[in-house]
Symmetry: C2
Subunit: 351 residues, 2 copies
């Protein structure tokens, strides 16, 4: 760990240590909201851009040139490790991940072989390049969570209600657990590779897990998420866990072993605190759609998030989901400065 | 009210009176899951089928020939009253409602004129035909809720995150309240027309309102929903209110004046009871995806819903959202009988 990392407000907040100010980063801070991103991506497919170290590095760094955010997040996609083990997945513009041959029976499990570092050399290289360039600012590694990965594999693409996925979860627990077990293995390996290359924290995005009830989460998903977080435990990096619409699941997502639980905008952070066991930091939770409103509204809403975030043992400011493509980058720059200025605590002894 | 209606288990449960058994109906019980529906709809557009009394009547009755459900629900669509006042909305197959000229500014409000009974003669006629044919079994009228209608109007079609809608809600409260006020007027009129023609209950579907936080619901939506329910109060019919992913909003949806609050599958009914003020019945909440699993799973899950539903002052069994198109109608028939058989209480004095 570098000297600057030891002092990183982001890592301090994740560890529930005192912070000089509330750290901030944004889900999808790199991406379609930035003209320079759209320029780099011209003529380069999404998955190609996730397999070229210099492209990954450039896109990951772009928001840091505009915003004084406290962390970078590796530019990648949750299906990258699936493709790396040979799944026929592609990302169609305007659609999302599409899997040619969905997983429907036990015979399909064989296609989910173990992930080795040699399968994703571009990730190792990109993380190493980024760590050097970030000069001590933390890089967040990431992976998709087991329910969300399973949903893309079972549905064959994005899905409104995850019906087939849930039908499998309800109707064939043996196949379900075998599938999620393999996905957990791949995810553990993918996150280990990123940490070994220098990532300072990891976020597990189980974006769509809010589609299941707490009882189902506990029995069908939590065992696999717990295994992922436990396997990462010895790495010593903060483990962040996030999904959309997970108000009912926040306590369980903490129980699964996350150090930091991400909250969408549907519940205030002080209510999220009440749903968690002690010993967890929170991340969130300004509604991304607020950023489309006039600045006075953004300012007032951001202040509310900061006030409520003070009830948590640690608070990393973020949006409640990813930056919307139509967001004005100037607004994110201003918001970043507002969060820092509003939350700065004078050092002991200063007037 | 006919003698049979006075005895309707559905209406009794809505009124939190003792019931001989737990009543059951299904959201989207009429529709794409039925081959006879697909046959009637061949070559007839969705909105055309909602404006022909004999088609409305046939489709509404179809599920009652298969399932021993305790209520029929008028076949219609939430955009029907919008089209009736002249909004250029159509329903595109595989897409959903599409509005050619979205509502974006105050000048657009003029297009949302008041709805008169003469605008929807087919609804009055269909309800009258149905009430005669139903022979005392209750008919549920319905309308879309203010947030959901606003979302289609502002986005111009179905939307993943309702970003523009929320940007308007956050950024221009004056226009927002003016828009929802007009939508509430239209909705009140549309529901009054259905009740005047003989509907025994009404359901307000604010399907997508779960996208907002409780604070925003209270300030931006509840005043309009309250007005709708208050205006229906003198009609004396039970008022049901439903939205997806509204676990955080259930108490407020009750406060708005609903007699019955619908719950999706994300929280168990006994937990929903804890979130409500006394004096409310609940409706729900089997996950529609459960119906794609083997019968043993469906049976066990349905029993769980019944057990938890007993903690409510009144319980109407339903799914947590609409019947999925791929659902086997035979399974719904069997489920209906299971709910009735499992919940039948012997009359006092019988062994």
């Amino acid at each position: 760990m570098t000297a600057r990392q030891a002092e990183s407000a982001f890592l301090q907040a994740c560890r529930r240590e005192p912070v000089p100010y509330t750290p901030v980063w944004y889900m999808r801070q790199a991406g379609r909201s930035l003209p320079e991103y759209r320029k780099v991506r011209q003529g380069v497919s999404m998955l190609d851009s996730c397999t070229r170290p210099e492209v990954i590095t450039e896109i990951t760094m772009q928001p840091l040139r505009r915003y004084d955010v406290d962390a970078a997040i590796l530019f990648s996609d949750i299906v990258v490790p699936l493709r790396a083990v040979g799944i026929d997945v592609d990302i169609e513009p305007g659609v999302g991940p599409v899997v040619d041959t969905p997983v429907r029976g036990p015979a399909d499990l064989g296609r989910l072989r173990a992930l080795e570092p040699g399968d994703v050399p571009y990730v190792t290289e990109a993380v190493q390049l980024l760590v050097a360039e970030l000069n001590g600012r933390p890089l967040i590694g990431f992976a998709g969570g087991p329910f969300t990965l399973a949903s893309y594999l079972v549905e064959g693409g994005p899905s409104k209600n995850h019906d087939r996925t849930k039908a499998l979860m309800y109707g064939d627990p043996e196949l379900w657990h075998a599938l999620l077990g393999r996905l957990a293995e791949i995810t553990i390996s993918f996150l280990h590779i990123q940490v070994a290359a220098g990532a300072s924290a990891v976020q597990l995005f189980d974006s769509w897990v809010g589609a299941v009830s707490p009882d189902d989460y506990r029995h069908a998903i939590l065992p696999h998420t717990s295994r992922i977080f436990a396997a990462l435990g010895s790495a010593g990096v903060p483990r962040i866990h996030f999904g959309v619409g997970t108000g009912e699941l926040l306590g369980l997502m903490g129980e699964a072993g996350a150090d930091v639980v991400g909250v969408d905008w549907r519940i205030p952070l002080d209510e999220a605190v009440r749903r968690m066991e002690p010993g967890k930091a929170l991340q969130g939770n300004l509604d991304p759609a607020v950023l489309l409103a006039p600045w006075e509204v953004i300012e007032q809403r951001a202040r509310e998030v900061l006030v409520r975030g003070r009830t948590a043992e640690g608070h990393v400011f973020n949006l409640g989901h990813g930056v919307l493509p139509e967001t004005d980058p100037g607004v994110l720059a201003r918001l970043t400065d507002l969060v820092h200025a509003e939350s700065t605590r004078p050092k002991p002894g200063t007037p």
